[in-house]
């Protein structure tokens, strides 16, 4: 592990943060009355598209050195389809978890599902980009001593911090402050976004500080 790796990681993360910031400001040029709180669902869609796009670009740039066997078209297509299925599955399972957590079952289905989508964007999409549609590898990364590179380590941190952000986002809901962002699921989506951004910021720094202690068996 070299400092250049950490630098690359940092730049990639900065790009992700930048994409989220862009998703806040760019649509207001094209759409009338755009604001995060009032047209929240629109923002959710745009944000998840932006973040997915940046992740895909990063994937193509960073992981361009694939072997020739894996570059065949049919392989790529099946892989892509698999990724899509995984993403959909993760959206649905997040939705189920939200409902089990107490989200309304029948009302506000679209809102709940979009929350699941944005959370999937912050967690499943990077997993897919980095690890591919390989569930075993995912399980490995999210268990003790399972990470094998700084990329996986940062993936672990950002994913967990996104979850924690979403979880913390649920706390203001019962408060009687009467703010517009206390509506379901705005506080949770904002929490997820803040959690994701925090994870993006923290993980390169944490890895940098602990670079002496971290020994990955692979690289």
């Amino acid at each position: 592990m070299k400092d250049t790796d950490i630098k690359r990681l940092l730049y990639a993360h900065l790009l992700c943060i930048f994409s989220i910031i862009l998703s806040i400001f760019i649509p207001s040029f094209f759409l009338e009355n755009f604001s995060i709180l009032e047209t929240h669902l629109t923002w959710l869609c745009i944000c998840s598209v932006f973040v997915t796009a940046v992740n895909l670009i990063l994937y193509l740039v960073v992981k361009s050195n694939t072997s020739s066997k894996r570059s065949s078209l049919s392989y790529k297509v099946t892989r892509f389809l698999k990724c899509c299925i995984y993403l959909l599955l993760s959206c649905f399972s997040f939705h189920v978890v939200f409902v089990l957590y107490g989200a309304p079952l029948i009302e506000l289905v679209l809102e709940t599902f979009l929350l699941a989508v944005i959370l999937s964007t912050f967690t499943t999409v990077p997993c897919l980009c980095l690890l591919g549609p390989n569930f075993k590898a995912w399980l490995r990364v999210f268990s003790r001593n399972g990470v094998t590179s700084i990329w996986e380590n940062s993936l672990q941190i950002t994913t967990i911090s996104s979850f924690i952000g979403t979880w913390l986002g649920a706390f203001p809901i019962p408060l009687d402050w009467g703010r517009p962002w206390q509506e379901w699921p705005i506080s949770c989506t904002l929490g997820a976004t803040f959690g994701y951004v925090a994870g993006l910021v923290i993980s390169p720094l944490w890895i940098y500080w602990n670079r002496k202690k971290l020994t990955y068996k692979s690289n």
Partner: protein
Amino acid sequence: MQKISVLLFLAWVSFLFYAGIALFTSGFLLTRLELNNHSSCQEPPGPVFLPWGSQGEPGACWMASRFPRLVLVVIDALRFDFAKPQFSHVSGEPPVSLPFLGKLSSLQRILESQPHHARLYQSKVDPPTTTMQRIKALTTGSLPTFVDAGSNFASYAIAEDNLIKQLTSTGRRVVFMGDETWNDLFPGAFSQAFFFPSFDVRDLHTVDSGILERLYPTMDSGEWDVLIIHFLGVDHCGHKHGPHHPEMAKKLSQMDQVIQGLVEHLENDTLLVVTGDHGMTTNGNHGGDSELENSAALFLYSPTALFPSAPPEEPEVIPQISLVPTLALLLGLPIPFGNIGEVIAEVFSEVEDSQPHFSALAQASALHLNAQQVSRFLHTYSAVAQDLQIKELHRLQNLFSKASADYQQLLQSPQGAEAALQTVITELQQFLRGVRAMCIESWARFSLVRMAGGAALLAATCFLCLLVSQWAASPGFSFHPLSIPMAWGLIGAIVCAGFLAATGLKLDLVVLGAMAAVGSLLPCLWKVWIGWGSKRPLAALLPMPEPVLLLLLIRFAGFFSDSFVIAEARAAPFLLVSLILLLVAQLHWEGKLLPPKLVTVPRFGFLTPTGPPRHNGLHTLGLGGGLLLCIRLAGLFHRCPEETPACSSSPWLSPLASMVGGRAKNLWYGACVGALVALLAAVRLWLRRYGNLKSPEPPVLFVRWGLPLMVLGTAAYWALASGADEAPPRLRALVAGASVMLPRAVAGLAASGLMLLLWRPVTVLVKASTGAPRTRTILTPFSGPPTSQADLDYVVPQIYRHMQEEFRGRLERTKSQGPLTVAAYQLGSVYSAAVVTALTFLAFPLLLLHAERISLVFLLLFLQSFLLLHLLAAGIPITTPGPFTVPWQAVSAWAFMATQTFYSTGHQPVFPAIHWHAAFVGVSEGPGFTWLSALLVGSNTFASHLLFAVGCPLLLLWPFLCESQGPRKRRQPPGNEAEATVRPEEEEEPLMEMRLRDAPHHFNAALLQLGLKYLFVLGIQILASALAASILRRHLMVWKVFAPKFIFEAMGFIVSSVGLCLGIALVMRVDGAVSSWFRQLVLSHQRAGEQSSLVYTGAGSSAREAQSYLLPSCSQELLRPLT
């Protein structure tokens, strides 16, 4: 001895908590000094200045009597909008047709036809809006305090000065008919009285028809001066059906007829007052201070003209207690001494005199008398008690003297201007309103010292729980240091009490208890601190792992926000779900969740799980998922707090009797009975799985035959209760009798089951057999000479084994009997079987106290605790020789689940949400409120606390129980067959709960640890609610949210701690019984003189096959009596 000291220690810690709670409560809950002074005719409240010489008139007291006779009609829970006239002048809008609107049309007619004779007011009621407090307020004119809120149905005589007392002392004949509460408040005050029981809220008609039978004869007889009538039907209808039910329309129409009839019977010298004592919420309850509960109707009518002007478009809003001085002065009585109400000025106008000046003067004189009386009261009160604010008091006194001086001046110059008169009236009114505001403000009096002391005691006890529970988990734990300081503290307290009693000082029980608690707590803390090792870091004490600590902290912090207290019904499941997901994630993180083949890293071998996963990973995932589903389903049964208007309560919480549709009702009834049967089947299945259903012991027989009877009884009771209104009239008595007897029978069955369980708690099936059946090995046929080494390896041991068996068989035959082997089934689950059986016995009577559909929640409760225990057991390693630990996440999850179930059984921590109907289950027409009713209502409210506390030992037992599913498949290494016959594969059959018995010291320590950890988790909740109530004591929501929450937490804590001690005592009883069972077994075999070996069999599906193994501990047990 250890057992007793564990129980004593737990009881003592509970006592410490109680002492803290009591100390805090005595400082926190409002107190108001009740003065015993009385007003009298001879002593006017101040110098008399009456505008004209009315002093000399006969019958005049402070003021000339305007009406010699009064009819006061109290219609319980007559909300203002029930009586509000419905104007149909808005042509465009369709008329709103709600069952309670516009039914009192006679009021409207009177108001329209005789505008100078009648007036409707919206009377503003002070909280608490419970009937007894309201009657107190309506007769004394003061502000009954919060503490009384709980004693609504167990009322006591009023000691303060009141209207009834003034009436009787001036010789008026007061006749009363209606609510029995008045008898408790004014015993013997009425010249004639017809009381009717008030507590049976299901009964809409008895009180009202009883009154109506006697009303007109009594009225026409003329043998009364004041007639007080208290109707209860409207209130009961609200409690039973809510205001939106058609029954309410009928009830209000009946009341309308009553008013109509009264007006017709009224003579010219009589005043008619119709008032509601409080309102009701949208679901028909009352007790709090919401807008709907606070507004009651007040209607005045006199056959002679009373009011100078026509009524305003929108009725005026006046405080409820204004009625007291108004009635007193109108009837020519002294105003009750402690009254702080303000007279309704307009009724004192002189109607005949068309001159407005005289009208205003009459009003001013009434107000001035009123102000004099209030000022006298303030003066007396502030001399006795110091709780009124000095500054405000001075300001008010100055205001009064100024107003009084102005008034005198005005009287001396009778031609005073209109404007001056109005100023005086305004000043007097300002004074009266100021006094009222000040009293409301400062009768929330707190004793900060006691509050702080109570909170500190609670905190210190929590710390003690933490310290001792962590200490008990360490290997070097001993019980000795616990008992000595405890005893010393108690002795000290007793000596102190004796000293105080001897010296004749006033003994305060609360303070004494707190002193005893502190006196015993401090030495104990010191001892434990030394014993635990003060050098260790404090952080080691905290509940670990960190996420659990975080969740507990969040729970703690949630008590400080009124929003979170209100939303606790959703917050508690949220935390529980988080904890469960955390458990699953943690299992995965440590590699215990999924089988290694799924997780293996292809290239590197470093990821080897610490041990083989005890369960199939998907199984655990399924447990977690099922648990979450159960919690979500239970969340569907939830009752909304009043503060969230957008939320709608689950319709499933109401009893089936209130359902209208027949088909839906039947379906629901079927579902409820299905839930009962499922509960029964689940418990029996569980017992059978662990083999506990085979024993011929009485408790087991009871489970097999008594439980179905209980189910049957419950189902029959529900059928009767839900269809009681539809029963044909001639069967009414039978149905009523049966619906009283059935719950009693079920409760009796449950009690006898519990007794049986306590009497013979060991549910073990013993089978004596000669020769261990297991050792007879099956020879696989093998023919021909062995050809390979493998064949040889196979055949030779077979031959060896066969020969050995032959040999042994011959040996056995030489003796008269073979070595006796005793196979004892289900010893492995003997503790948990007892606890589960006890829980089932407890659950059924508790179930009866709830509405029918809550049975589904009870089923979910059992299901989810079962799943949770399994999930927890998957993560808890068994440390075989001990010390055993119960992890914090288990205890926290258990406590969260208790809270969640409290809400999902349709409760809320506020008084109006208490299920009062529970007091009538199995109770025939009783004499009002008794201890039995309190017990029934209490066990309805705290059912979940009780069940979870009694079931708490399962947290310790379950991992051992789950052991049986574990390494069953591990094969004995081949080759040492000879050894195996001597001691056949003792590791293979799990010892399960017998492991606990093998280490009694650690077992007791673990029980102590478990109890203390649970008490700690509950203790921080009560500490948090106490702190929240004290820190936020001037918060807007303190009486609405924080104080009721504290009271409910405190009651819940008391129930939980008692349940916990009972549960642990039950486990210890089983332990003792198991010991004596072993001893008996050994004795009987010694007598037989046999060389016997005790064989223990595990439970489960293999129980029938009777696999028998030696139990090493039992062989030790065999030796013990010999040495």
